[in-house]
């Protein structure tokens, strides 16, 4: 009975969710404060921006590609939004920016302090994210270049551009209307939840209920078959990267608002978390496989793991070791699960 239960759990699509629940339950025995209201609010606040990134990455992974430039899109869009919205810039820090005297002044940008600053700033961030995604998509689809190389190069280029535009300075004094996106709540529910909920709903509808969604999976499984079947593969690939850029910009909005500043180095250590969460959630690196729920499970597991490690009184050097070991264990369980599934299908 017990063995069958474990086997069913292992073979279930929801394996990572069960793993997260078991992990949380075990942690609760040793650290009951992990279930405190404050910590659940922390988990929530950490989860939604990461999920936005994983959702974007998922679309590209389904296509059989990868988007390494998501973190540089975050940095670039954070800087773009920060420059447009800030109400104060220190000339000592910013006078060497190439935009000083053109777009930037000690009072910020020409729209700083107006009612348009926040909406235009956010729109500019989203547009910048989609633009970088478009460039990536065009290079992959039209230029037939490997996604890994294209997005690696754009990661380097746009990270550098973000640093160049600000001369590596952080942009403070963002308006309250923007920063509340990262810190504001409706009752106990953070704004970021609603933002990412909309994003997840769009992703779910597109993947599950539209022809476009079926094209994504078809291209990821076999691009040649898709071409023969009349799927507009180039447009699908471009759309995938544009959506990834859009999601990275959404995550950038949430992280920048939370930190209350535009940062040219925003997210530079996040890439492994994003790809790790996607893969642990069950989204295949080889394309053709992915679900919004799996993205959620993967992000949830990652956030829970990081949170737990932050709470344990481990020596600081042990934290990455434990994190790596737990991820390895999760990956091993996933491999075991895949083997069992394969055997079951054969049987």
């Amino acid at each position: 009975m017990g063995r069958r239960f474990v086997r069913r759990g292992l073979l279930s699509e929801n394996f990572v969710l069960y793993l997260s629940i078991v992990f949380f339950a075990i942690l609760y025995l040793f650290m009951p404060y992990i279930a405190s209201g404050r910590n659940l609010a922390n988990l929530s606040s950490n989860l939604w921006p990461l999920l936005a990134l994983v959702l974007g990455q998922m679309f590209v992974l389904i296509l059989g590609g990868i988007d390494l430039s998501q973190t540089s899109i975050m940095a670039l869009t954070s800087v773009v939004g920060g420059m447009l919205m800030t109400t104060q810039l220190d000339p000592t820090l910013f006078e060497k920016s190439p935009l000083w005297g053109i777009l930037l002044s000690p009072q910020g940008s020409p729209i700083s302090g107006t009612a348009l600053a926040v909406p235009l700033g956010i729109l500019a961030m989203l547009a910048a994210g989609m633009f970088v995604g478009l460039l990536n998509g065009l290079a992959v689809a039209k230029g037939r270049m490997p996604a890994f190389m294209v997005t690696l190069v754009s990661m380097m280029f746009f990270s550098g551009l973000a640093i160049y535009l600000t001369k590596s300075e952080n942009i403070m004094y963002l308006p309250g209307g923007f920063t509340m996106l990262g810190a504001g709540e409706i009752g106990p529910v953070p704004y970021s939840f609603f933002v990412v909920l909309v994003l997840a709903a769009v992703a779910q509808v597109v993947l599950k209920h539209t022809v476009l969604g079926r094209w994504f999976f078809a291209v990821g499984k076999s691009i040649r078959t898709s071409v023969v079947s009349g799927v507009p593969t180039e447009r699908v690939v471009i759309l995938g990267y544009v959506f990834s850029g859009f999601c990275a910009a959404v995550a950038s909005i949430l992280y920048s608002a939370r930190l209350a500043c535009g940062r040219p180095t925003l997210g530079q250590n996040l890439l492994l978390d994003v790809i790790g969460a996607a893969v642990i959630g069950g989204i295949s690196l080889f394309g053709g496989k992915g679900k919004v729920l799996w993205a959620f499970f993967g992000a949830l597991f990652f956030v829970l793991l990081s949170n737990a490690l932050s709470m344990l009184a481990l020596p600081f050097y042990a934290e990455p070791v434990v994190k790596g070991a737990v991820i390895l264990l999760a990956a091993l369980l996933d491999v075991t699960r895949t083997r069992l599934l394969a055997r079951e299908i054969v049987a």
């Binding site: 629940i21 279930a35 405190s36 659940l40 929530s44 403070m172 939840f193 250590n269 949170n307």
Partner: protein, 341 residues
Amino acid sequence: MRAWRWICVSVAVAALVAGGISCSRRGDAPARTSVCFAFQDLETEFWVAGHKAITETLKSKGIEVLERNANQDANRQLEQVRAAIARGVNGIIIIPQDGESAVTIVGEANKAGVPIGVFNRPPANKSNAAIVVVADNERISELAVSYMAEQARRLGRKATPLILVGDLGDNNAVARRKGFMNVIEKNPDLFNAVIEVPTKWDAVTAQANLEAAMQSNPGVDFIFTSSDQMYPQIRAVLEPLGKWKKIGDPGHVILGGVDGDARAARWMKEGYVDATGVQDLFYEADALLTELLRAIEAGEKTPNKWIEDPGFALTQANMAERAMDMWGYKLFAEQGPAAAR
């Protein structure tokens, strides 16, 4: 099966988003006094020594220390501090990535009513309350550069000054640059135009940029580093150019820096470095801990105090009297060259 899945997902989401409704704002506080010490990579000797002084003092007082390394990621540090608050720590000490993120993190601690101390890298503004211990970097740099300027006067010609600038998002770097510039501007008869080399506090960046600057300005004969950690990079660039010379040798580049670490101690003793601005690390660590522990004891939730370390400059002229006041010199004296690699 589908129903079961949706129940699990709904429970997980509901627990996360509605966590704040039913539970208290503070986690269950551990019985023992605990302090979260959140820092960025301990990339320089100054931070390593500061980390050691703080953790050892706390542990010796029977305080549980929750050490967190954010690996130069301000967002991660914010998450770590939030987790520590949820765990119910009694106090927080941070070495922030930069002054801007310090403002946000201090604000989080203020909101939660947990006293917070900021070690040596001050918040970009004073909008939130914290115990901040910071060296008077402008004055310390000015003292060191003034001595270097005296040496430049003896050259009998204008010197070409170069400064290795730290991360200007960090107030320490801004103040050190300002101290340097104050002296240069006061002595227009002594100096040609200043060459500024950005380092971002990163050794690799520093070496690459310094190499490029020395190629295009071979006449540089006056170098000030905003952190003593850059001396190995300065040596690596100057040595092949035949410019790593002792004081008094023809072609000696007038050298100085700030921090007062063991490398500076070694090269001052060996006669390569003219002066170094010294932060009193042990005083800073002690002052921060004393004030934070006092606030915890008194139940103060948002103590607000800026403590300044006046520092001093160790020069070739006052080395005999003041060398042992420099923390790096003590390390060098205790551990020998191993402390000054």
